[in-house]
């Protein structure tokens, strides 16, 4: 029996210049239903949700919500307040948090009357505390959001969306930065609320969550809704085919014999920043032709590890030996020169200069290369040729090589960085959360590239919170917890999960 319709999108259309990001999309949502919205990077999912919530004014179409009395109410376009008043809560793909405010203030922002002489902090805190209890999403209430980890921030986003009498919750990639455990916790909590009548639209690239949590699946491709199905009738291959319009293959790891050691950490200590753990006596050795997977919940020392390999920091104690020579000074340039390729965790912050062109970003790390410059002057034709070749070889898609990198989608930015790093045939690759936020086609591509580099003899350090990814790509697995590394031979998800939580297997 069909439940009542709480939300209907009617012919929503949005164009950005020549791009039609959403083309005449119709979608309905029922009470207590969980709808998964799928599609490749850039398919138009976020755009659609932004129209729903009033961030974007649609070029055509409108949004209707039920008015509780059996009728439908048309929302004024481009008006987030109206959406909020209608009981819609949205968790944005990119956090919409004020980092200078604490958790409670972020949640209360806009929820209390603006022009009041003072605020009832006590009652508000109580209400937030209760919400945390109800949802199982716990965050230190008084902490400034700027000091929280990404996972904690994601929880604040969700609490924010649920705080105001929400009956329709929109989640745009809520788990992209969560650990599997956190994600499971989130869905468990949400399921409870859904049972009480909450309707959910959620966007994700993680097939496992989609299949286990949603009731229905809608798929977008190039701004068009290409299909809808009940989750119970769906399987991975079918969904993938609908999303991409073709068959997809997952990367396969063939067996290789590792070569000589290229990087060794010997009892390395480095203080962490803020609440994050640093390294407390980490030791390991990486060989040529080997992918070393570092599993673990983010914030346990991964950042410190990455900083050292990136050349941004040197150990306070212990030794790092690269190609047989100890690393003594923090210098990214020296690392690059030594043949280390670094794929940073935060691609927007550390990976690209988004105000500069794609071509420029592709030579960012080789400004001294005589192929790129001549006596300090850039060789523009060479840069252009380089960018065209890399775009082709690594399938970087976007408005063109002279467009600013900000116009690329996240997946394409990641491909840009991969191209820049891998094209130099690095002997050592640091891949830090390389597939975050990518659709599985793009994520598969990253995996294939890393495997190809391994085949060429490179050693790879793969830091990831995605256990599936580690299990799929890594030759050896180290679990990181509280700044320490423990090697495990186990390939069992549960056993590794216990290590990640700091318990001996």
């Amino acid at each position: 029996m069909e439940k009542e319709i709480v939300l209907a999108l009617r012919g929503l259309t949005k164009r950005f210049g020549p791009v039609t990001a959403a083309d005449d999309i119709n979608l309905t949502l029922h009470r207590g239903e969980v709808l998964a919205l799928l599609g490749e990077n850039g398919a138009g999912k976020t755009t659609l949700m932004n129209m729903l919530f009033g961030h974007y004014t649609p070029d055509a179409g409108h949004v209707e919500v039920s008015d509780f009395k059996g009728g439908m109410l048309r929302l004024p376009p481009g008006h987030p307040q109206a959406a909020i008043d209608a009981g819609i809560g949205m968790v944005h793909q990119h956090f919409t948090l004020a980092e200078n405010l604490n958790v409670v203030d972020n949640i209360l922002l806009g929820a209390e009357p603006l022009f009041a002489f003072r605020r009832d902090q006590k009652a508000a805190r109580e209400k937030v505390r209760k919400l945390m209890e109800d949802t199982g999403l716990h965050v230190p209430m008084g902490a400034r959001v700027g000091e929280l980890s990404v996972g904690e921030r994601q929880r604040v986003e969700i609490l924010k969306a649920l705080f105001r009498e929400t009956r329709i919750l929109v989640l745009d990639e809520p788990t992209a930065v969560l650990t599997p455990q956190e994600a499971d916790g989130l869905f468990a909590a949400l399921s409870a609320i859904v049972k009480r009548g909450l309707s959910v639209i959620f966007i994700s690239h993680k097939m496992r969550e989609v299949l286990s949590f949603s009731d229905r699946i809608a798929v977008l491709r190039h701004g068009v809704k290409v299909g809808e199905m009940a989750t119970e009738d769906a399987d991975r291959a079918a969904i993938a085919r609908m999303m991409v319009g073709a068959e997809t293959v997952q990367p396969e790891r063939d067996s290789l014999v590792p070569g000589a050691p290229i990087l060794a950490f010997e009892d390395v200590h480095l203080r962490g920043e803020g609440a994050r753990a640093g390294l407390k006596g980490a030791s390991f050795t990486l060989h040529e032709g080997e992918i070393l997977g570092i599993a673990g919940v983010s914030g346990n020392g991964q950042t410190a590890l990455a900083q050292i390999i990136s050349g941004l920091a040197v150990p306070e104690r212990g030794a790092v030996i690269l190609n047989g020579t100890p690393v003594t000074a923090a210098s990214p340039a020296a690392m690059i020169a030594a043949g280390v390729g670094r794929i940073p965790e935060d691609r927007h912050h550390d990976g690209v200069i988004s105000a500069m062109s794609v071509a420029e970003n592709m030579v960012l790390e080789r400004l001294d290369d005589p192929e790129i410059q001549n006596r300090g002057f850039l060789n523009k034709p060479a840069m252009k040729a380089n960018a065209e070749r890399l775009s082709r070889e690594y399938d970087v898609r976007g408005p063109g090589i002279s467009a600013r990198a900000t116009l690329l989608s996240g997946g394409n930015i990641q491909k840009l960085i991969l191209a820049r790093v891998l094209d130099r045939a690095p002997k050592l690759i640091l891949a830090n959360q390389p597939t975050r936020g990518l659709d599985f086609g793009a994520a598969g591509e990253v995996g294939r590239r890393l495997l190809a580099a391994r085949r060429e003899g490179a050693g790879v350090i793969l830091i990831s919170e995605d256990l599936d990814e580690i299990l799929q790509l890594a030759d050896r697995i180290l679990v990181m917890h509280s700044g320490q590394l423990i090697e495990t031979d186990s390939r069992d998800r549960a056993a590794i999960g216990l290590l990640m939580a700091g318990q001996a297997a």
Partner: protein, 354 residues
């Protein structure tokens, strides 16, 4: 209502908009003119005459633009690296002080030696004036907006002290001014009986060099990278602090050259009222030019034309000479708003028609 970037850049619009903005600015200037009871038509004619009416008027405009090109370049280069140099005014005075220090008899020699020496001294002094704030930022995290701004006050007072002390012209009858620059160290005049001098050539050369360096050299690449995203630049192996210090030196040096040009090209000696705020106006010039060095030349010429034209007009019409600054301000605002309509368009309603 929605603001959207224009998709295609219509070249006609690119040409039309600055012209339209200038016309709107002139129309707005009619308000104060009417308020002061002047004949508006005649006023516009006088304004045109004040810039293009004679060779003299035109050279005067170029003379006024010269220091603005230097200070505009100083701001443009620093701002490209997101180094907020608000201290061009002070650096200008440092450059001028250094120019009179070496140029008034400390040493003497032929022109080919003295002129480069004076220019070099001024550039180094101006550059050091910005290296200080840049160092305080990279070393202590002290915001360079504050330090470079406060340094303006300090340097100006310091210049006064020098002009009443060691730099004072003994023949100056007590007036706080430096000795005159030696003839061998003075920048040659370009046209006799006008004030236009070779500082203008130097400024244009600097603009072209800056343009080439910023867009074509690896140095310029690094500067832009550091400005746009210092974290990514550092991650990519660019030495951010060293780049910033270099930018500070060059930016300050350009501001210092403004001082050299004014003192060795125009006035011949240093007084504490050498600059009517060229350093601050330089920021406007640079931003108006979208931080492009060649654009700086154009916007400096524009600002100078409006000022000189309106100033001359206010005199001819017998209205308060504050009208000149008022007209410059109005033009500036109209031009940036015009620039906005060049880049964006405003759509009303749902725009479903398309």
């Amino acid at each position: 209502m929605q603001i959207e970037p224009r998709q295609s850049q219509n070249p006609l619009i690119g040409l039309l908009i600055p012209v339209a903005s200038a016309l709107v600015a002139l129309a707005l200037a009619a308000i104060p003119l009417a308020f002061a009871g002047a004949d508006i038509g005649a006023a516009y004619q006088q304004m045109w005459q004040g810039v293009f009416g004679s060779r003299f008027a035109f050279t005067e405009m170029l003379t006024r633009a010269t220091p603005l090109i230097f200070t505009g370049l100083a701001a443009a280069i620093a701002f490209q690296a997101r180094l907020w140099n608000i201290g061009a005014e002070g650096q200008l005075y440092l450059g001028a002080l250094a120019a009179v220090w070496v140029g008034t008899g400390m040493i003497d020699g032929p022109q080919v030696l003295m002129i480069p020496l004076v220019i070099f001294a001024g550039a180094v002094a101006g550059g050091l004036g910005m290296v200080g704030p840049a160092y305080l930022r990279t070393r202590f995290g002290a915001d360079e907006v504050v330090t470079s701004l406060l340094l303006n006050f300090i340097i100006l007072i310091f210049v006064q002290m020098m002009l009443e002390g060691p730099f004072k012209d003994p023949m100056g009858l007590g007036w706080p001014q430096s000795e005159p620059i030696l003839d061998s160290a003075a920048l040659p005049k370009l046209i006799e009986k006008t004030r236009i001098h070779s500082g203008l050539i130097l400024a244009l050369v600097c603009a072209v060099v800056a343009q080439v360096m910023l867009t074509r050299s690896t140095w310029g690449f690094r500067v832009r990278a550091v400005g746009a995203n210092p974290a990514a630049a550092r991650h990519a192996g660019i030495n951010v602090n060293r780049t910033l210090m270099g930018v500070a030196m060059i930016s300050g040096a350009l501001a210092g050259l403004a001082g050299v040009s004014e003192v060795a090209g125009l006035k011949g000696y240093l007084t504490a009222d050498l600059s009517p705020g060229f350093g601050y106006t330089g920021i406007v010039v640079a931003m108006l030019a979208g931080l492009s060095p060649v654009g700086v030349v154009i916007s400096a010429l524009f600002i100078a034309s409006v000022f000189v034209g309106a100033d001359s007009m206010s005199r001819a019409m017998g209205v308060s000479s504050y009208l000149a600054d008022l007209t410059v301000a109005l033009s500036l605002i109209c031009v940036i708003v015009g620039g906005f309509f060049g880049r964006f368009r405003i759509r009303f309603g749902q725009g479903a028609a398309a």
